[in-house]
Amino acid sequence: MKITDLIGLAFSRLGTGKMRAALTMLGVIIGVASVVALVSVAQGATKGISDRLQSLGTNLLTVSPGFTTTGATRGGFGTATTLTVDDATALAQLDGVQAIAPELTSNKLVIAGTQNETARVVGTTPGYLSVFAYDMWVGSFLNQASVDHNLRVAVIGATTADNLSLTETSVGSTIFIGGLPFNLIGILQPKGGTTSTDDQVLIPLSTARQLFVGSNSVSAIGVSAANQDVISTVSAEITATLEQRHGITTGVDDFSIATQAQLLGTVSGVSDTLTLLLAGIASISLLVGGIGIMNIMLVSVRERTREIGIRKAIGARGRDILSQFLVEALALSLAGGLIGVGLGVVASYGIGVYAGWGFVFNPVTVVVAVLFSLIVGIVFGVWPASQAARLDPVVALRYE
């Protein structure tokens, strides 16, 4: 039999039982749609996270205190006090380091007019702006003089400004941080996203130490390398310098260095696992859809026993019957697969727009999902079809 004849038979058959065909396909539709949508969600989420990481500056190295990779236990991140302002100054002298930004972080109540919120207050230096790749929206950033003279000036993030109802006309006004008056000198451009990167208050490092922390230790040092190629060299230099300064000879460091590249690597590793996991879960529903097709095909073979007998009597060979039922199963699974891809793409578009990472369309997923649904059709269609092909025509013709 010609393939066009087989397709014609399959479609005229599916046409006579539209409701049943639709219900049979539903399993595959849901399976394929969830594979496409979930994979797209996983990839979209990854894209969202790596975009945000990239917006932090790809040349960034973050040095944090008290993180020992070989120790059995460690304190909460940033709770150790092993990094000092002097360490930061030393790092600024290294080759390949463009700028540094020590961070002295505490949470304080911030009041502006009648609004107030508890914000992350970061004492830092002028290098902060370039190290973390921020831009000013209005006003100016902290300058060296403000650090040198412990000035009570503050620059706030875009989200903080929103929360406190501060606008460009508020620059020059007084806000209260931890009960003390500060002059608001600037507001940062938002970086976008929903993380806390836009919700913070920046004040001079010296001011923070004097008023809020009282010690020489910093919670982190941001280091920006001159370019991406020197990141590993700079990382090694930092390790050597800090080990020397801290007198460490055991190799068990009291600090840790994280680069953006490492973070991106970690994120994409996690994302690959996540994608695989979600695709795996969705594949189970595809499998269930395939079993649904097999079930209906078995019922169909039984119901159509007499038809099979008639077809054999008028000249059909076993393989003609086999291909007829197989193509029917394939038509069901392929149609289900295509509808599923359509729904999956629409769903991923909707989720992507809602979640803010936009439309992530992966043609590979679509091709794989369609191929997978074809395989489901073959695997779960072959058995019922061969049952049909093996029927004895005499018995089949007598079947009521």
Binding site: M1, K2, T4, D5, G8, S12, T16, R306, E307, G309, I310, R311, K312, A313, I314, G315, A316, R317, G318, D320, P393, V394, L397
Partner: protein, 232 residues
């Protein structure tokens, strides 16, 4: 059809069919010898349980004899595999069934065209030949109807059109009037006579001696054995 006029369309030599039910062996046909010449119209008559259906299955290449030889249209049926039998059913035999056995929810045209599907005929040609066959049987205005929209007589005529569309060497009818009222039954028998007068070979299987009158020769089956042939 056979190119040699003297060669019979059907030759059964010492054919037996024994059903093996596991516990007992049921001999449904025993040592049957039969020849049907090209262009002959033969009736096989017998009471219920005499082996008529078994005979029909063997003649129609739906089943194989347990022993003996069967030559159909010069082909040794007893030596063929399943695909070989399917090929003979497709090329050499047209079935007409008591219960019509049309494909449900399928138009008369598609039903009649169906046997040509298994001969690899193109769709266009299939439909053309099915249309012509239906027109010959006076069903031109019923081509688009599905079986449930047709009377018994009409359904049987669709069945006959389907049997004829491949121009088979043998038309094999099993109680073709069994489900019809006497008028429609008579019409079908007239149709068979016409086909016979046009030279077609027909084997008609029935329990009804009156129906057998339509044929020009009748053989009688009893307990799986063929009685001596008597002219109808």
């Amino acid at each position: 059809m056979s190119g040699v006029a003297s060669e019979p369309i059907i030759r059964l030599e010492n054919v037996s069919r024994v059903y093996d039910t596991g516990k007992v062996q049921v001999p449904a046909l025993l040592d049957v010898d039969l020849e049907v010449a090209d262009g002959e119209f033969l009736a096989i008559v017998g009471p219920s349980g005499s082996g008529k259906s078994t005979m029909m299955n063997i003649l129609g290449c739906l089943d194989r004899p347990t022993s003996g030889r069967y030559i159909l249209d010069s082909n040794p049926v007893d030596e063929l595999d399943d695909d070989g039998l399917a090929y003979l059913r497709s090329r050499s035999i047209g079935f007409v069934f008591q219960s019509y056995n049309l494909l449900p929810r399928t138009s008369a045209l598609e039903n009649v065209a169906a046997p040509l599907l298994y001969q690899g005929v193109s769709r266009k040609e299939r439909l053309r030949r099915a249309q012509a066959a239906l027109e010959r049987l006076g069903l031109a205005d019923r081509v688009g109807h599905v079986p449930s929209e047709l009377s018994g007589g009409q359904q049987q005529r669709v069945g006959i059109a389907r049997a004829l569309v491949t121009e088979p060497a043998l038309l094999l009818a099993d109680e073709p009037t069994g489900n019809l009222d006497s008028h429609s039954g008579a019409e079908v028998l007239e149709l068979f006579k016409d086909l016979h007068s046009l030279g077609r070979t027909i084997v008609l299987i029935t329990h009804d001696l009156d129906v057998a009158q339509a044929a020009d020769r009748a053989v009688h089956l009893r307990d799986g054995r063929l009685q001596d042939a008597v002219p109808a």
